[in-house]
């Protein structure tokens, strides 16, 4: 299984990269981590004439944290983001979800921004970006723009990026104080794409009751789905489960039926919510 031939470009800066993209992006693909792209090329499911390899752009390999949130550069490997202590404090969802992305060896090479640009509805990081209301910054010869998560994902493997645009960084807003997070998923094998996954952010009021609960869903919709389950959860767990099950649109495939995925979505909503609430409670006690 060898890729079809392509012209390789190895830009060493973002301006160089967008220049190449402007010229060849229409029949080209950007190569960062390659953990999703290279198998596609190997199986000849895609045969781009040009490969724009951004691995030489050292400037893009960064993870910076501030009280506002975490900014992840396009070349930051999953393992780097996962291991970044400061990032973990500012937005715990990152490390929680990254632990579930494939296997450590894959995470040593795959990039977080790359997996966002790939826009796979089974990808954990798309759900995280959507859940915390993050954004992607894209650059081209036409300029720079920031795309919020809500408008970034168009469909399975379809993002808002134009052919001549390079996603240069992603921004994950900080977790509000007093909130807790969780990310749970069920897969057939450890490290596989999830049959269903749920991320949760829970915020508690002073008395310790849930004042906000938001959940994001993966593998059960075409694009990451974020639900505000606050009222339902305040009413009863079962109501939140019901709301979630009605909102998602799972498909059947050879691993699981739509109905089973729906069942998992309900179960995982409760598990994620409870874990997020516990995390918030622990945070409140520690404060």
């Amino acid at each position: 299984m060898k890729p079809a031939p392509f012209v390789w470009h190895g830009p060493e800066s973002v301006p160089q990269a967008v220049q190449v993209l402007a010229e060849f992006g229409g029949d080209g693909k950007v190569l960062a981590g390659g953990q999703s792209l290279v198998p596609v090329l190997a199986m000849r499911l895609a045969e781009p004439a040009h490969l724009i390899d951004i691995n030489r752009i050292a400037d893009l390999n960064f993870v910076t944290s501030s009280p506002d949130g975490v900014t992840v550069g396009a070349l930051a490997r999953h393992s780097r983001v996962e291991g970044d202590i400061a990032a973990g404090r500012v937005q715990p969802l990152l490390a929680q979800a990254l632990k579930l992305v494939a296997h450590p060896t894959i995470r040593n090479r795959g990039t977080t921004v790359g997996s966002l640009a790939h826009a796979d509805p089974a990808g954990e990081m798309t759900a995280v970006l959507a859940l915390c209301g993050g954004s992607i910054t894209a650059q081209s010869t036409r300029g720079k723009r920031t795309i919020p998560a809500a408008s970034f994902f168009h469909g399975p493997l379809e993002s808002d990026l134009a052919h001549d645009e390079l996603a240069v960084e992603a921004f994950f807003p900080a977790l509000p104080t007093g909130a807790g997070t969780a990310f749970v998923e069920i897969a057939r094998r450890h490290g596989d794409y999830a049959l269903c996954g749920v991320g949760a952010i829970a915020e508690l009021d002073e008395s310790g009751s849930v004042q906000a609960l938001r959940c994001a869903y993966l593998s059960v919709t075409d694009t990451p789905l974020v639900l505000d389950l606050t009222r339902a959860w305040q009413s009863a767990e079962a109501d939140a489960v019901e709301q979630a099950k009605l909102a998602i649109d799972p498909q059947s495939d050879l691993h699981a039926t739509a109905d089973y995925r729906r069942q998992l979505a309900g179960v995982l909503t409760v598990r994620a919510a409870r874990q997020a609430i516990s995390a918030a409670e622990r945070g409140a006690r520690a404060a």
Binding site: K2, A4, I186, H190, G191, D192, L254, H255, A256, V267
Partner: protein
Amino acid sequence: MVTRYIGKPVRRVEDLRLITGQGNYTDDIGFDAAALEVAFVRSPHAHAEIGEIDVVDALDIEGVVAIFTHEDLVGPAAEPLPVLIPHPSLHAPRTAYALAKDTVNHVGEAIVMVVAENRYLAEDAAARIKVDYRVLPAVVGIPASRAAKTAVHKDIPDNIAAHLVQQVGDVLAGMAAAPHQLEFDLTIERSCSMPLEGKAVYAKWDPDDSSLRVYSSTQAATSVRAAIAAKLNLPLPKVEVIAPDVGGGFGVKIMHPWPEEILVPMAAMRLGHPVKWTEDRREHFISSAHERGQEQHIRVGFDDAGRILALDVTFWHDNGAYTPYGIICPIVTSTQLLGPYKPGAYRVEFFSIYTTTVIVTPYRGAGRPQGVFAMERTMDRIAETLGLDRTEVRAANFIQPDEFPFDQGLIFQDGRPLIYDSGNYPAQLEMIKEMIDWAGFKDLQADAAKAGRLMGIGIGCYVEGTGPGPYEGAHIQVLNDGSVEVAIGLTSQGQGHQTVFAQIVADELGVPFESIRVTSGDTRRFGYAVGTFASRAAVMSGSAVALAARSVKAKALKVAADALECSENDLELIDGMIAVRGNPTASIALGQVAVLSNPLRYAFDEAAKAATQFARPADPNVPPVAAGEAPGLESRDYYSPPRSTFASGMHAAIVEIDPETSEITIDRYCVVHDCGTLINPMIVTGQVHGGVAQGIAGALYETLAYDEHGQLLNASFMDFLMPYVTEIPGRLELGHQETPSPLNPLGIKGAGEAGVIPVSAVIAAAVEDAMGFRIDAMPINPSALFDLRRDFANGKIDAIRSRP
């Protein structure tokens, strides 16, 4: 014989090269020779007629050397591949052509071979070749094949390749007289061997002596050699086949000759250049072999104790598009279905039927898992009907220890009577029950249920006919320096043959373990063999090695007695030294004996002088090499048993089902197995671990998902779910029993398949026990179990009666 090595967990000889990256697998060969590489155009359709093949665009690719279609094949190579194991009941066999001619009958069938400077360019060229197809309807699955709206092969309108009925006793009478009767259906789906190394072939033609050397990742080097010689019209001595290091076989590599095993050598000859082909993973999915798919219909009559008075089984075996391996798998199912039991009367009928899918040839177990599934699910049903304990029902049907040898009255897959030589099933049952704490489980299950946990226990028994013939052989030669060269004809795929057979030689011959070198699967070293399959290597080659070692020892003592001027009976051979018992100064090294065993005219080194004609006085009336003898300290011996020897075992498992997600966890997995004498217990344990892992994979994870167009939907490791470490229970509990085989010198029975055979039956039984409704189809996964639980809750499935 002092047993210093046999029975010990000797560390493997193979390991040193394999852990340092010095293994020599087929794709590693010929780095210096820069072989040309091959890629194929394979059919994208499950069923089609082939029209024009247009290669014009492919020739534009720089680095393309040659392109072959069926038109380019000559003589026997242009004819269909052989039916390896013909059988009178295989009334409509079909095999593929090495390159498809006129029709293709499964996705993946090879149509065009491209030879280029490297695999990248070969694939580029293959992608540019245009083939005209007239697509025909696909035939996928047993129901579609049976309905036969479309014939896979035009001239076989009912899609039936074989039909065989075997019976013992009067099933009709037995059924009529039985106080209880049950009738039900079972299904097992396809899975496959899936070794980590796919198939690979490297061929080199030597024009100077018109000889062909082929390396292939095969389990049957000698037979591949014969097939190549036949197909390419070469004299057998001019073809050599070597199985180098092989990255797993598990049965799929016993099938041969693969088209590539004929085509790659042919290309090497025609192009006068080494040629190689290394299968990629997708190719392996769509053009190697699968196994396991069957639908079974069972009728059983039994008495109040659960003894089977009559058992009537009909099953349909999906053999895929062709039948190159004959009907071995369904025959194994038919015969091994009986397990450790002696039903009053037994009738088994099968239809081996065509579908437009990949061919079906043995995969570890080779039809046995399906037979065990049928019998063990039947036992559980009998127990449920009578309200009896599932182990008691089994015990009531066992062949007893004093009934061996036990003739089941059928013909086994080796063409010989199905006669079990030895075993002790009641003792095995006691052992497994104790290991898993069968008696205590009821309480465990009840306590768990109070806490909302769903647990179940299952048990499965099997008998495995191992070491089928016709024969295996071994050649042992002691060299002048005392080192010992051992060659066996069959092949190795990780079983540690180089270690295990050296253990036997060390003990049987009496030489240091480190002085022994074992070669396997190399026709240059040993030309007569059958192959590695049916857990036969230890039994067959082990016995041959033991016999050859004894022959060499006898000769060594004879030569030594002559040199030391004493009687052979006074001598012993220990650690490579032959000495008079009780008089260590009267001794001679084995290497020196080797020198003396070959009377010389010319001494080529210092040590050889001792064997020359003036070196010592000789009886003038006795020829230097006596009639019937041969020079040299070596022997070639064969072991050919009258029939197979029967290993056996029992597995038990405790599973837990997550009430919310229906995920299935195996809490405990216990194995008791009997493979007779153990040569290396560490290696046997490893084999059982690996077999159980494959069994669990087949029970809970692996399927081959064909859609109605014959497309394999999960032809990659992303969707074919081979388990990682996290999917296998952290601890497998092994118990061991040893009833030696009376059929071979060391009492060995085969162990290679023991781990996999009953696993689907055991898991199905355990899940059923946890759920309270029947599991009739395997494999099972959480989503399917969720559906069944929902149907059960809605009253669409019956409950099993509660168990004692």
